[in-house]
Each structure stands twice: as structure tokens, then as C-alpha cells.
Symmetry: D2
């Protein structure tokens, strides 16, 4: 039984494991005040070519999202997000639990647009309504799609026009930056977003997200917020060591390249067989629309998630690849799929 | 420079590291729904000799404290804690950030008493005041002291009389249970507390706290709260593997024994030299009261925390040992200390 | 310039004013512990023919909504409401500020249905999502529409099937209960809702909402929540006196009858002139769809709100009547309207 | 049975009642956007001789306190208050319910000092602790005491030195400003505080507190916060009319003068009889320490609150006077008291 269920099924890339083992008995100060965390921040700043940003390492994505949002907003201010966004649907109301409304906009492809953002702003006219203040986008999105540089620049423009912060959830950033259709670089991201993060959990680390705060207004006292919301790891150097490995050279992006390559082989197999895809994804999540009968058969040997029940006995399912996806297992899956689909 | 600064300076016990390395490329489901987490829960239930409890594995202590408290209390209800308690002082208002007041009681030795609890309850008389509902104690306390079985039973009695939950923060439980003066066992704890946790971060794990919910009223929907507050680790099996190691045999308590043994050698050295101690601790935190001049000299070779400035050029400092404290380094420190104190 | 802008433009019904003046120098205890508040509760219980309910008097609607919801829900639980519901749109995120998500469902007529409720429940499947627990409906709705007894019973059934509380916002209950199409009585409401309120602010009082808690699970410690959220009026007898006046006889419903009668005359005038209405309302809010040119002219003599810009130079506007609407002013408006529309 | 239980036993001053009756059927816009509210703000600005402040009218004190604090603080920031302060003890954790810790300092006379404030600041050293940011004082205090101008200036200095806001709860400001020992004026208050309020509820109004925001940093979007926290009265002009009456001439202060005069007659009677006072109050709250046997007898004819049980059968009780306290009833009480104390 091989799993394409998600990109956090395995542990960490072997180089990360080696580094953790090697430094295990070192003594360092806690809570991110250690040489590894400092060095990781330095390496990340170098990759994005900006010395004026703040870098913080947090354990997980939901935690990072809720900490950024609680730090950025006053009590009456709200987030604008697409209805499939992680903060809308899959965080058990974590944002609302910090007191903030998420204004959810409908989009078929998992992406916000300037028009959707403007319409959310325009719908909120006075003090009887929340005040939209932060735009949340995921890159890649929950449907595997990515923003082009032009799209991101247009979003930046509408944010500037309306005094909005732009926050990019980069849980799957390694895959997004290395997709064959991608034209956004890390320096672009730092230029266009007020705050974003480089996801580690889904890109080779045991856990960890590297948050980059670009906008000075969001920097003060950020460590207070991390601590208050439970996101400050006692042995913070565990995060430092992992991001040192990912950013000392190009490992982070290389892992994205591998995940995408595996995903594209799946996509090619699906489309070659005439299967429709729920979204046009070039990243590590693929959403084929399959007959329920075929899904049942595939499930005897493979794990994957149901995305959405459709009509006429069809269902969109989700296949996820990662840095750890084994090439021969992809071959085997494709063979199995091709065999089944012919019957 | 050797550090007695805290019990989270090093990584994890080598057996834990080995297990993490060994299982690194296994595929498991995420968010604690994996065989390792399930097995860890089974082993913990066996150690405390209770099948009817719920076990959840969370990443860190502040997160565990705030999740338990937010799950247990209605909005108008409050926590009773000693003023030196971790939730009062060292969590950046994490409990208040979930909406709950912590009623802080003054105690010199870091421990709540039935009289203090009753007095907190009696001071809150009607709907213009918060309603105390949960008693928070740390075992061992932030001053290294521990509760005797008789003391804990008396606290249980006052809780029952007033309809209060008893929550035991066991961040340093391994040390508390194995102190030479200890008479409380894990099954005692499960009998007397409504909810408690077995700290991993400070007892041999990379990170992790194993929460045990005994009282049925606190069990429903607990995973929703863990997720909402950001405490649900995607690769949950990392927690499972670590607690499997700690509880497959007696490793957890053995690590406490070692930490205490190192601490008692420090204590013996301090008291032999006529040094007063801020608290009478038999656990892994020791608080000698030293002249500032001596502290300055010791700091050239050793790291430790300042606890409290006192009068006449004296200061209480904190020395912490752990599972990782090296015996020969304790010898070296004692030699250094004895040499300095004679001058 | 006469105003049809809202139903809180004037002060209170003269009988209420008289009672307030008369009791002005009485001395009573504060915070709702006075004979008037107790008597008001008694009168309300009699009207709804239930002795087993709790009655609380609060100052305003947003306050009442947020207090009920914070009292009813655990932190991971959510409200289901229609997207035009007051808690969704017009309370500045007051519900989210207490930590709870409002799951907004789309409906053209301002009303939830069993199907919408079930679909909201079904969309939330596990601990990665909020848990819907309370259904919020307004009766009459923000579009002036009302629920029939059969509709409310069907909603009750779907609530029971899914373990949901049903909360009825009765800010405009007097108008809803007395509409010509209404078949729900106060005792029906107490039988079908878990908690509801009888709005005073928009029905003859200076301010005040009388909350009725039917479900025992929602009763404990409710006064703590009122106080904590700032809703406990020091001179609580002001609320008591007003609701004594409204419920000593049938004044409350009579004021609804008057408001509706004025509204129906407006509606008749609009429809006689061939004007389409945004909703089919028989209560004190009417939403004619008018040409922008006509609106501009009407605004020279009348105040009313813009509800929604539509296509082709048409706009839905809102006319609101109340207990205080003067019959001759309605005549004058209709004359003016008829004159303008002919040109 | 005459009541000295509190200063909110009666309704409103007759001039206020008259104005409310007179304007009852006027039509005005809601939510504080009416000519009366605007005029009240203008009159208040004139009295404090500052045009650059923002004035908002809210219904009650707890609501005002929680709205100001939630508007002023970021999530990790805390309030410094004396342990007897209203926000510490008598608001059911309303401040904590907005997410903020109140750092409570001990003072016998109900007043903060620069030393207490500095000590609260100094005890909070890093991101593991909350960050004190706002000083809350009540003037007069909950023990009837008041700040001198020199004391308030010294508090301002320590606030400036530490970047703290100063918030003055003026629920009993009319009495505080007119005490025979008072040397602070309204313009002083506006010069020294960042934000303060002029209490109406306890000084002649049916309800209402006039909030004055001096510091520009606290002004933006304040109406959003009022609405979100449920403090925006639909018929806002009720607040406007009341504060128009209080500030059109010197009524507000005159009512304080009367309350104080009645209180001083009580104080004189107590001290003439050799009774000790819990605090040295020159305002409308007096705290005589009486034998329990005497208290029992007085209670047959008078209502008053128990403040604090003391030793040896003695209890501190609270007598409160107000704008409505009847002079002949004070005479009667004194006669009764003198008669009882001689036996």
C-alpha cells in the first residue's frame, strides 16, 4: 500500500536527519536564541536577497497563520481569503478563535484576484461591519494552482490602493517556486508580500515554517506573539538546524523540483488516459476526476484523499507527491492505473 | 563553558534519536492518527494502570496548558494558580489570551495548599467576579518543590468540595516522581488529577508532552481544540515515536533519576559550603543563594539563570540538571565552586 | 423631512415614558435585582405560558447576540446563519470577536431552511474544521420575511437530528408575530427555540431586549456572561419598567400591528404602481426596487436606506415603519410617491 | 428603609428626565449620529477646553473599560491596575475575556503610585511575559480616595518614561473633582491622561459614560470597537440628551458637590463618634469600621454594603451618597446612628 495521501507522510530528508543526529548533544540556549537559528535566518535572508527582513522559525502552519494574523490585525479587522483557503476551511476556526473574521470569497481555481479583493473591500462600508485589512493567499493554493508574477503584482497594487497587508502562506512554496509554469522568485516574493513563509513541514523537514516579515509595521514584539500562542519551541535549534540544511545550498528548491516532477508524471498519465482534472496544477497536488468504480479499485493498493463528490458517479480525488515520493512507486502506480482504466 | 541553565539545552536521548532515524522513511497518516502515536498512548495507559483515560500528544508546554484550559472552562471561569506558576508568569499571558483570568495566590515554596485554594474560591462571591473552576499546579513546581501524596489528596478534597478541576502540569514530572522524598506514583496522579501531562521536552525527548485526560467531562472534542490552537503536529508520529521510547520500559523515570542524582550532588556541595537554598528542592532545579561576587566568577565558566535579587549583595540563582547532564561536568563544577568559595 | 430610515428613530411609547418618569426617584437595587425586572420576567413568562424559562433583560441586540452565543458554544463550535443575518454582516465581527466562526449560507429571502442547515453540518466533517452547534435565525428576517410555523418546526427537526441549538433573534419579533401572514405564537416560539428574545428597542422601548432561555443547558451562570460582556445595566430597573409596560397587557403586539399596518400601506402603494419588491415582506420593512432618478427625488423629502444597487439604474431601497410611524405622514408619502411616479 | 447601598439606586436628575420626555418623538439618526450626541461632545470639549479630543458616549462602565482596553492594546500587552481596581475585581474577568492580563498591584488606599507602576514594568523583562502597556486608575478610587494633581503628574511622568498609556476610569469623576481636597480640574485630566471618561450613570444620568480620547494613537476606528463590543446604543441620542443636560451648564459638577456634602456629613458623624474609617475619603463613598452588633441594628432601617470583614467583631461597611441622596434622610440616619451607638 503506497500513499499519495499527503506530503507529510514521511520524516525528514536524510541530510536533515544527519544534522540533527550530529548536533544532538550540543548545548545551546533555548527558544530560538541559538547559533543554528541565527544562521538559518542569515541563510534565508541571503536567498531572498534582503537583509532588512525579520525571520522567525515556527513549528507548524496553523500556528504560523494564526500568529501572523493576530499580530497584524486590530480587533475589528478582518482577513480576505478564498473560500478554499486553509484559514477558511481546515484550521478549526483558528483565526476566528483569535477574534477575527475571515471574509471568504468564491473562486473556482483556489486563487484570489484583484477584483475579488476589491469587491470584499467595497462590501464593507462602515463601523457596523468588519474592516478588511489583510489579504491571505496560499502559493501554491489548496488546488495546486500558482500565481504568476503579473497576478501577484496586480494583487500588490490592489492591496496598496486599499491599505491592505498581503500575507502569503508558503506551506508548499518549494513546489510553487519550481513549477514549470512558475515565474516568481524568492526575491519577488519579498518585494511583493508584507509577510510570507517558507514551508518546511511539506518540503523535507520534520516540521517547521520559516516566517519572513518584510513590512516594518509587522515586526515589533513578534516574539511575544509567538510565545503567547504556543509556537515558541523550547529546543528552538531543532528548527534552526533543519532550515540551515534546507538553505545552505539549493536543497529546498531541489526538493520542490523532485515533488513536481513526480506530480507531472501522474498528471501526464491521467491526461493521457483522457481524465479531466479539477484544476490545472503544475505543482505537487493533482486532482483527477475519476469514476467511483475506478477509485474503489485503486484504493486497494494506494492511499489518496477524496476532494469532492461530483455528479454521475464521478469524484475528484487528490494525489500528492513530495520530496520523498519514490520514482519507482510512481511507475508502479501508473502501470496499475493504466491497466485498470482499460477494463 | 558548561550550561546548567535549563533542562532543554540538548537534543534527545540517543534511543529516541535512533528510533526517529530508523522510522524516518516510513509512510504514516498525519495528525496523530498513526500506529506510533496509538502505541505510545497504549504504553502510557499501561504505566498509569488506567484504560479509561484519553491520551493526546502535543508539541510543547505552553500550548498544552492553554489548550487544556480553553477546553475546560466556560468564558467566565478562571484558573487558580500560585503566583510563581508557569501559567502566571512565563507564558506571555497565553491563558488570558484565551479569555480566562488566572487568580494568582502567593506562596513562598511554589506550591498551592487547600487553604489557598479555598481562600481563592471564597473571595469570588457572585456574577460580578470570575468563577474559579480549575486548579493548576506544577509537579515539580517552578521552585523545584514537590507535593506529597497527602498534600495532593488534600487538594483533591478541596477541589471536590468546590466543584473544581485539578490540572497537573508535569513538564518536570519525571524528576518529581523520582525525587528521594517523592511518594506519589503515576497511578496516584491519575486517581487524584482530572487532567495532567507527562513532560517529554525536559525529560529526554526532542519535544512533546503527553496529556492524560482522566475526567470524562474534559474529553469530548479535545482534538478540535488541539487543532484550533495550533498544537496538532502534521507528522504526529514524531511525538508517537518519542513517547514509545520513553514508556516502552522505564526510560522516562530513569532519566528523572539521573537528573535528580546530578542535582543532589550540586545541592550537597552547596549546603556543605554553608550556602542557603531558596527552596528545599530534591528535584532537578536547585536555587542556591550566592554572593554576587561569587556569581560573577562562576559565570566565567558556567551558564545558569538568575532567579531573584536579594539583599546585601546576595542573589538566588538557578542550577538545572537533566537526563543529559554529564557527571564529570558536575564534578568539575563542584571542584571549581569549592575552590572559589574558599577565597 | 420625514424618516422611514429605521425603527429606532424615536424614543419610547408614551406609556413607557410615563412609567419611567413615575418611578424615577424610587430606590431599587441594581443590576436587574429589582422588583420591576422581576415583575417583567413574570409577565413575559405568563405571555409565553412557560414558568420554566429564564428571562434576562439586556440593553441591545448585538450585545444579546454575542452574549448568547458565547454562553452557548465551546471554543471550537460555530454558528450557522444566513449571509444576510445580522450576526454575519452588521455587528462588526462581534461573534468572531468572541472566538466563534459564523458559517454563512446563501439565501435570497433572508431565511434559513432545513436543507441549508443540513448542508452546513455535512460540510464539516472532522476536527480540522469547526463544529456547527447553533442555528441563528432572525424573525422577522433582515429582508422582512418571516418563518411559518411549519418552516420553524422543520428547522427544529433538523436541529434535533444534528444536536444543534436554535437561537431566534427577535429584534423585530412584535412585527413578525403580528404580520397578516403569521401563524407563529409566543408559546410556539418557546416550544421550538432553545433561546430567543423579544426585541424592545425596535418595538416601543427606549432600548432593551428580553432574552428567554428555554433549554436548561443554556441557563447556568448566564448572569456571569451578561456582566462579563458589558451587558448588565447598573440601573437595571429601567429595563424592568419598560418590559412591564410592554407585557402588562397586549401593548407589545399592538405596536407590532401598527407598524405592520403602516408598512402594508406602503407596500400596497408600491405594488399598485407596478413597483417590484426585493422580498415579499408583510412586516415593517419593505424593499421596493425603484429607479435611481425617482430615489433622488424622494430623498428631497424623505429619509430611507439604500439596500442594494441593481442593474439598469434600479436600486432596492428600504422603508421601515414602527410603533411611532405617523399615519398622516404615510398618507403624505404615498401622495408624493404617486405624484412623482406619474411624471 | 433608606438605601446608602450605591449611587445608582435612583433614576435620573429631573432636568434629564424632562429633556428625554421633551425630545421623545423627535426623529433622529441612530448610533450616535444625531444632533444631541454631537452637541454633547461639543459641550464636553468646551468644558475640558480641548477641541482636539474625540468624545464617544457609551452605555456603561464595564463596557467602556473593556472597549478602551481592547482598542488600545496589542494581544501581548497588559494593564497595570491596583488590586481593588474595578477591572481587577468587579467585572467578571471582562478584560481577560478580551485577551489581556491585568497586572494587579497591592495598595492599601486604592491608588497606584509611580513606584508601583515602575515595579510592575520592571517585573516584566522579556517575551516570556506580558508587556505592560496601559495604566488603569479610578478617580475617585474604589475606596473613595482621590489623586492629587502632583500625584497624577508623577504618574504621567512614569508613564512617559515607560511608554505607557494612562487611562482614568471616571465612573465617579463628578465626586472626585469636587471633593474638598481636590485640586485636579477637567483640563488637567485632559492634559495628563491619554483617555478618560466622565461617568454619567453614578452622577445624575439614567446611564451613560462620556469617553474622552486625548491621545491620537487611540483614536482611529474607535467606533468599530464600540460597535463590535456591543456598546453602540441604537437610540444613541438618549446618551446625547443626557450629557447635553449635564454639561450645558455646571450641573455635572453640582451633582458631585451635593453627593460629597451628604457624604461628609456621614463622615463627620462617624468620626465624631470615634469610628475609624477604612480609608480617608472625601468623596461620595465612606467606609466606617463598625461593630457587627451595630451593623445588625442599622440594617433594620438602612441598606448599605459590607466591604470587608475585619478582626474582633468589626466590619468595614460602605455608605454611598449620590446626587439623589435626600438631606433629611441623612439627618435621620445620623440621629439613628447616634442613638444606637450610645447604647
Amino acid at each position: 500500500m503506497y500513499s499519495f495521501k499527503n506530503d507529510y507522510s514521511e520524516g525528514a530528508h536524510p541530510r536533515i536527519i544527519d544534522a540533527l543526529v550530529k548536533g544532538n548533544l550540543e548545548q545551546t540556549d533555548g527558544y530560538g536564541r541559538d547559533p543554528h537559528s541565527e544562521n538559518a535566518a542569515r541563510l534565508i535572508k541571503k536567498k531572498i536577497n534582503r537583509q532588512d527582513v525579520d525571520v522567525h522559525l515556527l513549528v507548524g502552519g496553523t500556528q504560523t497563520n494564526l500568529t501572523v494574523i493576530t499580530a497584524a490585525l486590530r480587533p475589528h479587522q478582518a482577513v480576505i481569503a478564498v473560500q478554499t483557503g486553509h484559514v477558511c476551511l481546515h484550521e478549526t476556526g483558528a483565526i476566528e478563535a483569535t477574534g477575527h473574521k475571515v471574509v471568504a470569497m468564491t473562486a473556482d481555481d483556489g486563487k484570489l484576484t484583484p477584483a475579488l479583493i476589491q469587491s470584499a473591500v467595497d462590501a464593507h462600508t462602515d463601523e457596523h461591519m468588519v474592516q478588511p485589512k489583510l489579504v491571505y493567499i496560499s502559493h501554491s493554493s489548496e488546488l495546486g494552482t500558482i500565481y504568476s508574477k503579473a497576478e501577484l503584482e496586480a494583487i500588490r497594487t490592489v492591496c496598496d490602493a486599499n491599505g491592505l497587508y498581503l500575507f502569503v502562506d508558503g506551506a508548499r512554496l518549494a513546489s510553487a517556486l519550481t513549477a514549470q509554469t512558475a515565474d516568481i522568485t524568492l526575491p519577488d516574493l519579498a518585494r511583493l508580500a508584507d509577510v510570507f513563509y517558507l514551508g518546511g513541514t511539506k518540503s523535507g523537514a520534520l516540521f517547521g515554517e520559516a516566517l519572513v516579515i518584510v513590512n516594518d509595521a509587522l515586526k515589533p514584539d513578534f516574539r511575544f506573539l509567538i510565545k503567547q500562542r504556543g509556537g515558541m519551541l523550547a529546543k528552538g535549534r531543532l528548527l534552526g538546524i533543519q532550515f540551515e540544511c534546507l538553505f545552505a545550498d539549493d536543497l529546498y528548491l531541489e526538493l520542490g523540483v523532485h515533488a513536481n516532477r513526480m506530480a507531472m508524471r501522474l498528471k501526464d498519465a491521467f491526461t493521457a488516459a483522457g481524465v479531466s482534472m479539477l484544476s490545472d496544477s503544475y505543482t505537487n497536488q493533482q486532482f483527477p476526476i475519476l469514476p467511483d468504480t475506478l477509485i474503489e479499485k485503486l484504493r486497494q493498493d494506494y492511499k489518496f484523499e477524496i476532494q469532492q463528490k461530483l455528479e454521475n458517479g464521478m469524484t475528484a480525488v487528490r494525489f500528492v507527491t513530495s520530496w520523498a515520493t519514490v520514482s519507482s512507486e510512481v511507475d508502479a502506480f501508473i502501470a496499475c492505473f493504466n491497466k485498470l482504466i482499460k477494463h
